[in-house]
Amino acid sequence: MATTTATITLSSADLLSDELALTTTATLTEAGNSTGIVGTSGLGRKKTSGTSQYILFDGDAYANGAHKVYLKNTSTTAAQYFTIEINSEQMGKLYAGDWCFFPWEANADTNDIKIQPSAADMVLEYMLFINE
């Protein structure tokens, strides 16, 4: 069993009249128990060669579970983004420097995570934590 933690910090001194300072730490565990996740894709990078949509993670390739996904758009051009689609539904757009972290159930072969770059030659950094 491995111990992997994810900590998020949201902060702002001027979004509201009161300061925003939120920190949450989660230990990444398997579905419904306290066993640490032991599988991972490793930290990877994908350089796109066009603006086509790619399957980043195939829902059919993983068992139904409490997987976690980390994605980061490494672009430094503010207008460049990746459109993130999950289960054929547009989740959102990851602009330059943006990152996201979310659970993924992979509950069906249609539950793919797909990415579509807004320009050619963009690089997405990704890491999947796998509930094996």
């Binding site: 111990t3 979004l15 939120l22 997987h67 983004y81 989740m91 757009k93 972290f101 659970p103 993924w104």
Partner: protein
């Protein structure tokens, strides 16, 4: 213009042979720009006692023209301490994943109108796994808020 940052640290000494120590920090900007996001729903804290789906941002008009092409970020945390308790998170009725006790998510949200014809638009919904009471916190930091017209 506000300056709001989101940072993540992923660490593990034993997931891999090499230590994992990954950090990323990003200032939240309006879509395609370097102008800071300046609107938020505020942080909500809710105690849910039913397993039915709820729309966690009911005051926002998803799929509206105001949100088209805009940037929104969503934070959700399952505050439960019972490892078996989870919430199913969906977008437009499609499952993203299960958020187990202590887990959080941070994701962009297009709020785009879906193509499923079910009038759910871009709703983000949450369904607790038990009806015995679960605590959650969530917020949205965004631009282009449009509120429903009073009736």
């Amino acid at each position: 213009m506000a300056t709001t940052t989101a940072a993540i640290t992923l660490t593990s000494a034993d997931l891999l042979t090499d230590a994992l120590s990954l950090s990323a920090t990003k200032t939240l900007h309006k879509a395609g720009s370097t102008v800071g996001l300046d609107q938020t729903t505020g942080m909500a804290k809710a105690y849910l006692t039913a397993t039915t789906n709820i729309d966690i941002f009911p005051t926002l008009i998803e799929g509206s023209m105001a949100f088209a092409g805009k940037s929104s970020w969503v934070y959700i945390c399952n505050e439960s301490e019972d490892e078996t308790e989870y919430a199913i998170i969906t977008i437009s009725g499609n499952v993203i994943g299960k958020l187990y006790a202590g887990d959080f998510l941070w994701m962009p949200w297009s709020q785009s109108e879906d193509g499923h014809g079910n009038n759910r638009h871009g709703d983000i919904e949450l369904a607790p796994s038990v009806d015995t009471g679960m605590w959650f916190t969530w917020c949205c930091i965004n631009e282009g808020t449009e509120y429903p017209t009073a009736v």
